[in-house]
Amino acid sequence: MKKTNTRLIQKRINAVSAVLLLLAFLLAEAAAAGYITEKSKRTFDTAERFAAYVEASAAQVQNNAPVLQKNYVLEKHATAGPKPNSACFGSTDDPAVVQAVVEQAEYLLDGQTLSWNPDIKRKPGSKIYYYYDDTILAIVWKEVHNMSVVTYAEVKLADSSQMFRRLSNNTLGDFVWQTPTDMAKESNAVVAISADFYMFRAIGVSVYQSAIYRNDPAYLDHCFFDYAGNMHLVKRGEIQRDEVEQYIKDNDISFSVAFGPVLVRDGEKQNVVQYSLGEIDEEYSRASIGQVDDLHYILMTLTAEPYYYNAGFIRDSIECMYEKNCKNAYALDGGRTASLVFNGKLMNDVNYDDGERTMSDIISFVSAIPEEDR
């Protein structure tokens, strides 16, 4: 009986052991299976989060993209611009109208201050003329100076390619001369000024599209324009004939005018006592060009008009250009040549009975916006 009980107990112990072993085996299987399943399938949602973050960042950058102004640049050595937009021309008696245009031109002015301002004392009865598109702002007005009439044009360009020397018949050294008005129209100038009339005399350094046409620097002051639109003033004696070519290369010169003298240099009025051209101590019609800032110019003629019987001395030109904040200013050919053209019309009186003369070159300021972009 005892033997039977012992066997029965042993059998039960074995059965319990077997069950426990089976349970241990199953649990181990379960753990292993769980681990394998987790290991083979589990991953993170990093990819989705990463993509969402990158796409959100991209959207933010794109939404914040600044609305840029189109930069219009004319071809190098262009001798005409696109036709100016007739809707952009205007004239008024009211300086507030022009001031509103100036405020529109804030981007073009790029922080620069105009010499023109609404409080300028204009010649009585004279209008203000203006043109503005995204590439050029031009304001033309008249003042009285020592009983002379000064016709100013203030010009701000977007790009230096919009200023160039335009020759008569559009040909270097040509004896077919044209009026400044005709040359201005053919080059589609918004505004233009008569230049040095280089075909009238055989002295000075004449550079056109970087090529030297004439090289005789001894007697005249010179004004060189580089491809960035900056004026470089060189007084007589400061450059020798054999240095001109290197000077043009070193300073990236586009063209030059040879008349003079230098009126203002580096912000200083020049003391001109003697000069071989322009009868500086006699009353003559005067023409000048000056630079106020980057791509910012003053054009000026000083002439007699009805009730304002004086023309001007060179010292008047110096005073006028200095007053208009020119850092550099230079006298162009005066007398009957002195012509300031705006919108194809001569803006100053020519003090000679025969009126506007034909001559050989002007400096043109044009818009750069093609007609299809208006």
Binding site: A28, Y53, V54, V61, Q62
Partner: protein
């Protein structure tokens, strides 16, 4: 899972314990082999129980956790995500093994993957089956990259604006037409992702590792995922 293993070991331990004595006739015989197995299983059960309870059992871990961390990052730098995944606890990868479908996002992704580099300067701190390894990880910072994108977009955008007719760039409200900004963005992104030196960041990570039957594995946490995703994930 540790608790399941603990239960399995416990069951096996009891089963062995029951086999330690045998009643034959009127004698009680103690069997050596089940006793030894019971002792071993008992120790393992205690260790597993302590482990499951989060206690540290000194001396169970083996091998070098630093080497595992080093191999993980080396595999990442080589672009071998399968090999890297083998060093992760529970997970087969950290979620960035496939390039995004969008071509622009894929550029950023590739720049991120290419940016990984690591440096292990000190030995891991091992406590039982756990270890902490300090790793200096250099990776792309997505925010820095997009900070650089703003200025980088201006040049291609200006070129596109200058090259095209105005009517092909702006609508009547002087806003960009669809596709203009996207084109500039794509060009800028190519340039910026080609040179990300200024957009990299090096951070020190405390990498948690755990010893398993398969060796030391990395316990992935948010800090690691965030670093590996260039701060773009968490």
């Amino acid at each position: 899972m540790l608790w399941i293993l603990f239960a399995a070991l416990g069951a096996a331990c009891i089963a062995c314990l029951l086999q330690c004595v045998r009643y034959t006739e009127d004698k009680l015989k103690i069997k050596a082999l089940p006793v030894i197995a019971t002792v071993i299983l008992l120790l393992m059960t205690v260790a597993m129980g302590l482990t499951a309870a989060g206690k540290q059992v000194v001396g169970i871990g083996g091998g070098d956790p630093g080497a595992a961390a080093d191999r993980f990052f080396s595999a990442l730098e080589a672009g071998d995500f399968d090999a890297a995944g083998a060093y992760l606890e529970y997970y087969s990868d950290f979620g960035l093994s496939e390039a995004p479908e969008d071509s622009n996002t894929a550029l950023v992704y590739q720049a991120l993957i290419d940016s990984y580099s690591h440096n292990i300067t000190e030995k891991a701190r091992v406590r039982g089956i756990y270890a902490v390894q300090t790793v200096e990880l250099t990776h792309l910072d997505i925010d820095s990259l997009y900070e650089a994108m703003g200025p980088a977009m201006e040049k291609p955008l200006q070129r596109i604006v200058d090259e095209k007719r105005k009517a092909d760039v702006f609508d009547e409200n002087e806003q960009y037409l669809p596709g203009i900004v996207e084109q500039a963005y794509a060009e800028a992104l190519e340039a910026v992702t080609a040179n990300t030196a200024d957009c990299l960041v090096t951070e020190t990570l405390e990498l948690n590792l755990v010893w398993t039957l398969g060796g030391w594995k990395i316990s992935v946490d948010d800090a690691l995922l965030n670093a590996l995703s260039g701060f773009a994930a968490y």
